[in-house]
Symmetry: C2
Subunit: 203 residues, 2 copies
Amino acid sequence: MLTVYGSSSSGNCWKPAQILELAGRDYRWVEIDSMAGATRTPEFLALNPNGKVPVVVLEDGAVLTESNAILAHFAEGTDYLPPPGLARTRVLEWLFFEQYSHEPYVAVARSWIAVQKAKARYADRLPELWERGHKALAVMERRLAAAPFLTDSGLTIADLALFAYTHVAEEGEFDLSPYPAIRAWLDRVAAHPGVRRLDRLRR
Amino acid sequence: MLTVYGSSSSGNCWKPAQILELAGRDYRWVEIDSMAGATRTPEFLALNPNGKVPVVVLEDGAVLTESNAILAHFAEGTDYLPPPGLARTRVLEWLFFEQYSHEPYVAVARSWIAVQKAKARYADRLPELWERGHKALAVMERRLAAAPFLTDSGLTIADLALFAYTHVAEEGEFDLSPYPAIRAWLDRVAAHPGVRRLDRLRR
């Protein structure tokens, strides 16, 4: 059986669990407490030298890393990832946008405030994260004001990747009230059969 | 004809020029001076609401963003991107590693020091970038000490994406002497027919 190593509080770790659930694949979840140093042990670094969760171990022992690569791996051949060509490129654009322009701000602010409970310690750095996170949210809002999903291919892993931390952005003190199109999209994604919020996913 | 909007000093903008050259595609280059605000004009934001280069405009007017999505787009069907399956997932893992764990440190330190000439202004932030950049380089060294390229598929866009900023890392004051496998790989990639250093690419 597949094994997913992840932290339950992490949106990046929600991604493999969510795509496996949508793909109807069974898996075993191994909880990793990265705050307690569990991603820095020799055993874990042997799995992923980059010391990050999630990690997926396939039935044959092959190890997958990088949450968005894992999304693409299990979405291959499903409606959640269009075939190669411009439609697939559109999905990849949002996956890279998520990891470069969104996650480092929206996810990190939430981690500092709601997971690590360390808002005071990061008080001088949070304003920059909020500013850059809002810039990413504005890019999403612009697209979603004009279309139901991030690409023209219906719900894809682009939407799942951005849903991961956007639906819990308020835990990072991002006020989503200025983004009506994002809020409608969050409801639309959450209503898709099989999609569950971070705190409701079976693991 | 294809149009690439980019900054000549940027490794991210080197990527579309390099893959188009390898794929034998002709293109027009439009120099964008992002430091002078050229990515924040209404005209540029209409092309890419995220305000970043590179941007590629296809013959039919379709607009591509995100350097690694652009690499994948033009590598489709070539030896630089294996077909869907585990081999392609391995390439995607490195593409996401590059944008999340390498570029924000290795590229940004170089930009501050060698492009913006602003080392003094960022003196308090550079040590963190060097520390995290060396962590990424150590992950690459570990792989490259055991294999000639980043994946088992020969030279792919994974190698091109990491070559982009690693071959100019010393401009960000990253000493590569502790990484013999990276240095040998840099020579191997640079020796591949059609591959050119950032400062030698026709544009």
